[in-house]
Amino acid sequence: MLKKLQAIGLCMVLTILSGCWSSRELTDMAIATALGIDKEGDRIKVTVQVINPSENAGQSFTSRTAVTTFTTTGDTLFESLRRLTTLTPRKLYLSHIRIIIFGEEYAKQGIADSLDFISRDHEMRTDFHFAIARGYGAQDIVNILTPIEKIPANKIFSTLESSQDFWAPTKVVQLDELISSMTSKGKEAVLTELLILGDLNKGSNIENVQSVPSYTSIKSSGLGVFHNEKLVGWLDENESRGFNMITDNVHDTVGVVPCGNKGNLTIEAYKNSTEMKGSIRGDTPNITVNFTAEANLADISCTIDFTKQKTIKKYEEKLAEEAKNVMKDSLEKARDLEADIFGFGELLSKSNPKKWKKIEEEWANIFVNDLNVDFKADVNIRRTGTTTQPFLDNISKKKQEE
């Protein structure tokens, strides 16, 4: 009798321990990869890009698209996401989101209300990136199909990462950084912009990935500047590069200066670092930005003598001057927008916490008018690539002789 009871007891335990209580099978989930958030009147419009599983796994592919999108509106982000269940065949699974895109109009009215849900929800991770759709709604970007990467969200994700690594003007921003720069008193947030090139309407059609040059593509080149939670303006490509140089966010980039009579000298700067120092002397805050780069010659289209140390020196100085100008332009633009995106205020609050307390309230004003920023730049050309002297020189000599 007891043995039997024990057996029954064990069986009951088994049902608890199998661990399937809140399990969700892969076939019950709609895996979301990108989230687009727009404003529609007072309501929030959400567009979700969902993976079409049969197109991404398995042997036989049909002519269906790799992803599909759903759009709905609601008073809050969470409400609209839940309302999506009336459209999607399965419940959304948000853990694999790669990118969250805000529409320009929505970003101008403030993105804080959706960030709360994003940081509160347990399915949301923190490793996705944020971007703003410049000139368009987020929906338009989420709807575009991309070549090479089947899943457009992955394409945007890797575009952002690779262009941050090899081309300076973009920046990937993750949730914790975004929130802390929005809440911090001496810093403002930036987010990468996304542009649509080409015909918007053709982008969501499968033909977009069937022809060799795509009709429509997504590009990221500059940065959107925030003041608190609101988008206030844009940095163009060069200003964004300056921003990244100041904030020590450049891994590998390209620099161009004119050389000789006509033509350009291009370098690949591969080891960039910036040191920012803040101090408050008397009442005037000072910032020194010290940029150093190591570079390789990459592309020369002029006739100069590169065997001489003097020439190298001269172009190193020219490049440094160019770097300084880029950084200055970026600062000017930020001052126009009255947004301390570089975190100068935060820097001062760390280096001179007591004096910072006094100027904290008027910081916005001080940043625009009184702040003294010194830029220093130092570029060292280390190698010349696989060749030394450009052959263009010889061509032009040959021309003269003829």
Partner: protein, 84 residues
């Protein structure tokens, strides 16, 4: 009702299986066991029928708050996102 029934059933099962292990013990041991078991089951029943007890932390708070209130007020001043 179903919940109460299943709790009773579970309790019965646990009792039969567990009480057996006490056979070698003294009578006193078994008596204490039955009393504590009854208390446990009683509390579970109250829980099942949604009888409100005061929450533990509210009781603790009532005892300690008079002494530590000023300290806690001071601490709360340092809270990083206190609403002004």
């Amino acid at each position: 009702m179903f919940k109460a029934f299943s709790v009773l059933l579970g309790a019965g099962l646990v009792f039969i299986l567990d009480y057996r292990s006490l056979k070698a013990n003294k009578k006193w041991d078994r008596r204490v066991y039955i009393v504590i078991f009854a208390i446990s089951l009683g509390v579970w029943m109250l829980y099942i029928f949604n009888v409100q007890f005061p929450y533990v932390i509210q009781v603790v708070e009532k005892i300690y708050n008079p002494i530590f209130d000023s300290f806690n007020q001071k601490l709360e001043q340092k809270q990083s996102f206190r609403v002004h």
